[in-house]
């Protein structure tokens, strides 16, 4: 057994970046305040000191420039890892990500395949209002040519980030900032990867299946624990990768439980939950005991004062589960 240490998600991500920069000399980090300062969430702390200003670069304040420069760096043989300070600020870069990064491999007949990892903290629960709370994953899942990955705890964070860094495809890596520090766990100190595009059963159960990703995974586990108190046996799946996604694991589970609730923070309409229920229903339809259901954010901008009403909570998940089980 290799050595491991208890750490939070920031520490785990920092380790992944450190190990990768050490191993792959073409890897570079580019982003706002990521260098000397180590990032506003400190995920890149110490890396500029260790790898120098040429490889860990403070960018001018321009996301389109960061993403576009990264595409060019990748075309030129580097492996850029960019940080978009908050997922809400990825939108100025959307043209470079959606029209360039995502389509380069396809449109060039795979002559060029720029590989960029876009790390970005996302999600609510930090009193961040409209622009420090959004979960914009659906935009990117809806863009063929990108992988979309979400860690839900420190172990997954390190392993998934290293896998994303090794992966030849562009990856949008959404980091759940609300649990950056709150999520604590044992993480091996060595280099390891957690495979992309597979889902993880975090808890086994027979009565219903909860599917979530990122910061909603611990909330679903909490809901499952509450449900246990009421005599329900809930399965919880961490989807981890949304594009491509492991529908097979979800289908196997729902075939057994007959019930599915997908939970996410992003607005419900056209959120990834819509895809998931549509994507599995063909297979699971004959086994269903209740309608496939989603619990997402409301179809509103992310609020400030009334934030607690907006975020799916363990208690609301339980409310939905009860209805599905009594259906």
């Amino acid at each position: 057994m290799s050595e491991s240490k208890s750490m939070n998600m920031i520490g785990a991500l920092n380790q992944a970046l450190d190990l990768y920069l050490e191993r792959e000399t073409n890897a570079v980090i580019l982003g706002e305040d990521v260098g000397h300062f180590g990032g506003v969430f400190r995920v890149t702390a110490g890396l500029q000191e260790k790898y120098g200003v040429e490889r860990v670069m403070d960018a001018p304040l321009a996301e389109a420039g960061i993403a576009g420069m990264a595409v060019g760096m990748a075309l030129g043989g580097l492996e850029p890892i960019i940080e978009i300070q908050f997922a809400d600020f990825i939108f100025p870069a959307i043209d470079q990500i959606v029209n360039e990064l995502a389509k380069y491999r396809y449109r060039s007949g795979a002559q060029y395949a720029p590989k960029v990892v876009v790390r970005t903290p996302y999600g609510g629960g930090i009193r961040g209002g409209h622009y420090h709370s959004q979960s914009p994953e659906a935009h990117f899942v809806h863009t063929p040519g990108l992988r979309v990955v979400f860690p839900s705890n420190p172990y997954m964070a390190k392993g998934l980030l290293l896998a994303a860094l090794e992966c030849p495809d562009p990856v949008i890596f959404f980091e759940p900032k609300r649990i950056y520090r709150a999520s604590q766990g044992d993480v091996p100190l060595e280099y390891y990867t957690v495979p992309l595009d597979r889902a993880w059963t975090m808890r086994h159960g027979e009565d219903a299946t909860l599917v979530a990703w990122g910061a909603m995974v611990p909330i679903c586990l909490e809901a499952a624990a509450l449900a246990e108190g009421e005599g329900y046996d809930i399965e919880v799946i961490d989807l981890a990768s949304l594009a491509p996604y492991d529908s097979a694991t979800v289908e196997r589970s729902v075939t057994r439980t007959g019930r599915l609730l997908v939970v996410h923070e992003a607005p419900q309409t056209c959120g990834f939950g819509a895809e998931l229920v549509a994507g599995v229903q063909d297979v699971v339809f004959p086994y269903l005991e209740a309608p496939l259901r989603r619990l997402g954010g409301f179809d509103t901008p992310f609020p400030y004062t009334l934030e607690s009403h907006y975020m799916p909570s363990a208690d609301r998940i339980l409310f939905e589960l009860r209805e599905l089980i009594d259906y």
């Binding site: 403070d58 001018p60 304040l61 100025p92 209002g129 419900q268 400030y304 009334l306 009403h309 409310f319």
Partner: protein
């Protein structure tokens, strides 16, 4: 930061913009008699009072945030000569496109303190219905459009508003602020290009306060001036001492007049310094030495305008103390009053997305209310 050239106009723009001095106030508070008329005695006092009010509010809300009574706060300490001075030169109906660091402009415009505080606290009295983080103000009645967090998005808006103003003949001149970091954004360049092409009446003011969070100006641009960029877009750019209130109103006054008279846009780069942290989430000790802000305190716009007032025989130490105390008392009373208001009613969560909520949102709302009825039968009135 460099930039103590004796004249502020740069490059090819000199011909279009009158020569304006980089700075006007002398170290002892005096100024050349020709500039004394820029502002009368009564206004000097009013501006100083506004500056003090700004400081008192900043200090108080910083404290409230530390006490956990406020989600977040950002101060503008050290930059008030620019924020108040720019607003000083406007007509009351000239829109001000703000970022999060120009409280002084709102105070000068006369937005009632209570309205500012309701927004900061995010209570049910907030005209924005508690929807945005603190400092993301919007007060239509005071010609203050809504502040957004994504930096730079307001700049093309100012250009568009200016175009509308000309076409509709309202003669309004939009003012847009930005930080020097934001001058790296595409929206900045787009806004300047459009403003140049359409010759829109508007004024862009860069608060060059040295830092964008941790990133120093030297890492935003390889150019020695931001003002010079305007000449690439075909209109004048000028650079001034942003901590010198008289230099600010001298340059801004001419820029606004020029815009109102059909002369087109101007870019003003005001050199200043962010004395405080970027925000309550920031720790500047990681990226700058403690004595750097101390050095800038010597150029504090409050001190400099106070020295000027004293030179004119205004705003004695006694006046200052009395005013400060009255600000403290006023803010204390208002904070107590504003904190007592309940949060916005739950139904506001579902309003104003479109004019009326669509079917999906109505169903989501109804389902959530059904949940609340089960969980907390008495807690919420059902709309």
């Amino acid at each position: 930061m460099s930039g103590s050239a004796d004249t502020a106009s740069v490059g090819a723009t000199k011909a279009e913009f009158p020569e304006v001095p980089f700075a006007i106030l002398n170290a002892d508070g005096s100024c050349d008699p020709e500039y004394r008329e820029l502002i009368d005695d009564a206004d000097v006092v009013r501006v100083l009072q506004t500056l003090w009010l700004n400081r008192v509010i900043d200090q108080r809300f910083l404290k409230l945030q530390r006490q956990g009574r406020l989600g977040f706060y950002m101060t503008s300490t050290g930059e008030e000569a620019t924020t108040i001075g720019a607003a000083y030169c406007l007509r009351d109906d000239d829109p001000i496109f703000l970022t999060y660091r120009e409280l002084g402009a709102l105070l000068w415009r006369g937005v009632p303190l209570e309205m500012l505080m309701n927004q900061l606290i995010g209570n049910g009295q907030d005209v924005n219905k508690g929807r945005q983080m603190p400092i993301h103000f919007c007060f239509r009645d005071w010609a203050v459009p809504s502040i957004s967090s994504p930096v730079g998005t307001q700049l093309p808006h100012a250009c568009g508003f200016g175009y509308a103003s000309r076409l509709r003949g309202t003669a309004q001149v939009p003012l847009a602020f930005l930080g020097e970091g934001t001058a790296s954004q595409g929206d900045f360049h787009t806004a300047l290009n459009f403003a140049g092409v359409f010759r829109t009446p508007c004024v862009f003011v860069i608060r060059n306060n040295g830092y964008a969070i941790s990133t120093p100006e030297s890492q935003q641009t390889a150019s020695e001036s931001l003002a010079i960029r305007a000449s690439g877009y075909g209109f004048p750019g000028i650079r001034i001492d942003g901590n010198d209130f008289l230099a600010v109103i001298n340059a801004m006054g001419q820029a606004v007049e020029r815009a109102r008279g059909g002369g087109g846009p101007t870019l003003v780069e005001a050199l200043t310094y962010r004395i405080g942290a970027h925000s309550t989430a920031d720790d500047p000790s990681v990226y700058r030495s403690a004595d750097e802000p101390e050095r800038w305190r010597a150029l504090d716009p409050l001190e400099r305008l106070t020295a000027h007032a004293r030179w004119r025989g205004l705003f004695s130490e006694e006046d200052e103390r009395a005013w400060r105390e009255s600000c403290e008392a006023r803010i204390s009373a208002l904070v107590t009053a504003c904190e007592a208001w309940p949060p916005p009613p739950l139904e506001t969560l579902f309003q104003d997305v479109l004019r009326d909520p669509g079917l999906q949102l109505r169903r989501q709302r109804d389902r959530y209310l059904a949940y609340l009825r089960v969980r907390e039968p008495d807690a919420h009135e059902v709309p």
